[in-house]
Symmetry: D2
Subunit: 280 residues, 4 copies
Amino acid sequence: MTTSDLVLKFRAPDRPGIMAAVAPTLAARGCDIREAEVYGDDDTGGFFLRMALTSPIGRDELAKVVEPVASELALEWELHDLARRTPVLLAVSKFGHCLIDIIHKKEIGQLPIDIVGVVSNHETMRKTAEWHGLAYHHLPMSEGKEAQEARFLSIIGESGAELTVLARYMQILSDSFSEALAGRCINIHHSFLPSFKGAKPYHQAHGRGVKIIGATAHFVTADLDEGPIIEQDVRRVSHRTTADEMVAIGCEIEASVLSRAVRWYAEHRIFQNGNKTVVL
Amino acid sequence: MTTSDLVLKFRAPDRPGIMAAVAPTLAARGCDIREAEVYGDDDTGGFFLRMALTSPIGRDELAKVVEPVASELALEWELHDLARRTPVLLAVSKFGHCLIDIIHKKEIGQLPIDIVGVVSNHETMRKTAEWHGLAYHHLPMSEGKEAQEARFLSIIGESGAELTVLARYMQILSDSFSEALAGRCINIHHSFLPSFKGAKPYHQAHGRGVKIIGATAHFVTADLDEGPIIEQDVRRVSHRTTADEMVAIGCEIEASVLSRAVRWYAEHRIFQNGNKTVVL
Amino acid sequence: MTTSDLVLKFRAPDRPGIMAAVAPTLAARGCDIREAEVYGDDDTGGFFLRMALTSPIGRDELAKVVEPVASELALEWELHDLARRTPVLLAVSKFGHCLIDIIHKKEIGQLPIDIVGVVSNHETMRKTAEWHGLAYHHLPMSEGKEAQEARFLSIIGESGAELTVLARYMQILSDSFSEALAGRCINIHHSFLPSFKGAKPYHQAHGRGVKIIGATAHFVTADLDEGPIIEQDVRRVSHRTTADEMVAIGCEIEASVLSRAVRWYAEHRIFQNGNKTVVL
Amino acid sequence: MTTSDLVLKFRAPDRPGIMAAVAPTLAARGCDIREAEVYGDDDTGGFFLRMALTSPIGRDELAKVVEPVASELALEWELHDLARRTPVLLAVSKFGHCLIDIIHKKEIGQLPIDIVGVVSNHETMRKTAEWHGLAYHHLPMSEGKEAQEARFLSIIGESGAELTVLARYMQILSDSFSEALAGRCINIHHSFLPSFKGAKPYHQAHGRGVKIIGATAHFVTADLDEGPIIEQDVRRVSHRTTADEMVAIGCEIEASVLSRAVRWYAEHRIFQNGNKTVVL
């Protein structure tokens, strides 16, 4: 008998009895809970649950079992088959370190994603992308922001991407673009937010004389660099570290933080919780 | 209606249906799951579950409800009322930094423990302990190791301590003493285990020229410095860092790591899993 | 023959030949350079040098040798005998963790300072300070900010303190007070500056959903939380970490960061460099 | 007038007057010291000095000036022109993450090296190396270890490599090979040494249940994994982290640690000090 590795996510206004309703339903169909984590947020009253299951029945069949329970409890829910990789579209400008890192991790089996293409406002990374067999879409800004974003959205739609990753894509997005991708677009910002929003954050950090620099992966929202934070990391610097050296150190932090955020998304671990995230 | 904040721990050979049996039982008595985490270890086949509940009935009454379910499923289980603080006995030799840290954190409400006394093979820390109102038991080694350990065990018994914390207690324990305290005695070792077991680990680290030093909190077992690791942390050093400076830096790491291990124990988060730990 | 352990600090507009003028002068008097570090800031044109020397002649005698060289090169300079501990006045409000940490480190020989007293706007920490034999000056804010700060400055003067350490002293200082203590007053701010200036930074951090929190030791200036940063450190948190738990985690970061800044000051390692610091 | 950016390294038995002899000599030729660091090791009596200079005369001309001073003081010395990149030969087996990282950092100007070729006992990374325009030398072990190492040494000689970097080259080197490359061969070991020497260190770490894993860059010596440590770094893991996930996390640590060690070597910052390193 084959089994499926599934992930079940619930999100609901907090109320007792959710686990009591769900767990027996799963057990009755022979599902085995391998991992589970429940988080109830006392501030927002949100209830979050993620379960990794082995199931003797497939994703779609189990979904039919889960649906009535979720419906009765007014739960938002998702059920994913881990055998199906998340299709991801990458966007980049001129700096390729995050792009190269994600492509390499995907190729050696460390990221459960399919890369469905690369979008860029420059030609810089075309050769790299195409050498790895990826479609490269050059969307120059010269055609105008509105037209460019419209084409970008079309490519997302046509590619089947469920997640768009701004892997050092250095364009400020319009509100409508941000809203269209709400919850399915992750950006890497090259500072430890909320410090140093906006342009040239390492130069801002150098000017302020901080002793630690960082990077932040967050969901894109209409408020620039204000979206829900998914992951952050930092590295120690000193007065000797020039702004250029901070940029170089930052490349490693950015690639590491962004790839973790992408992995967690593809493993169905991330919930939005107001302007914060819950990662289970 | 008053509610109790309870923690329920299960540990069992892994089998499906555990959550399905437990969750409805709790829901039927009005318990609300605030946090839960399940971990199934594919290597050992162990299943671990920790839940934080609010319950309309008290610990003892709920225990009567849980018992038959656990019995039927052959689960090892514990049910704790968070209003009851874990009684802890501290042991120290001459270096007081971990002792002072734990006492202070307890006094300002950051550690959910009661300190039931301090044991030492020296008089060095008596003044400090007594100023904080703690009973101080001087057990010099001059009376012989066997007799000294017998008195130590008596004090543990009489004090009602459920956890003994070796807060830089610099004596090698006999096998029988270690076994008598299996699972309820935490030691802080002043190195990043398994590197630098035994005596003078910072001097060993200095001699080897490592660039990072650490400390390790672990359960005491008969194998010196080989017990299940609960927590570790590290700090960066350089060629300039002398062995004495490593000792000083280490004091901070040790106090921080040990207090985290004690907190997790007192919050009923730690499971032994063979020679490893699961912290939920 | 006895020798003195001295530290020589220079600071000057950058120009060639400084080391060439200084080193032979020292060698001619039999001084041995044990450590030295030179930093030239290409942005500000500042030149910074710190040397640790063993000297066959005492601090005052060597100062007479250094003075004409420094004068000719227009160097700002300091010469310190490490046998002389820096006198430090501590200020605290109600939270004692930084105070207790500094006192303990001083008592066990890990901080080369003398504590000349404790100032507080509350009585909370009097018992602790006095048990350690320290003079406690209660300066309640009820007497009015101007009068209170005047008394504070008097105590600094009378105590002979060369450094005032705000060890969680929760009062906003007037501009004139800050200016009077320029370069000799270190504050610990309980956030990773420049994020979360002002009040309740851990609650700000919790509200923003950051994944890492920190603390910052900086020189006090008239601009609140804007002074030159001396040291920072951070710790990872998650969505599960409550604001109160952040406060508890922060206590460790704050004490560690502040004690490092105090040590570096007492070891004569810190230079102000505009609104930044150079730590050699 | 053009200037050269030079680095001067000295190493000597510790004795007074070294700086006093050197600094005026440099100043007399118009050199400006931009950075300098002196370290005297009280344990070994070693004296280490690194200076970054701007010089109105070139490397070879200044060398003639330095030589008699160094000779008189019995100093080991090196003088390097930073405009000349260090030629580096990379060795790899099947895992390409360190190789790709070094190539990318070199290409975007973050590593001051020239890559003079890639050696491997497998064909796995040929395509990648050649796409980046690098000569690829396949040296299969099937030809016998002695013959293979002889060819490896020939390639080092012919390529002009001053540094050989074992970027996850998974072969144990013979003593004679190690000795031939003493001080000019850096290996990345995928554990936090001295823990977990030898094969499959992440699996060893997983088996021991450590809470932090790491990687170590060290000079290769005849004692496997016992050479002088240049750099280390670590990352937090938990009971949930599988051995395979440790391998994936480790890839990032390894690449980061190794590239730092290579950079420091190419910037002429590293001194061997017995079985330790001094990094200035």
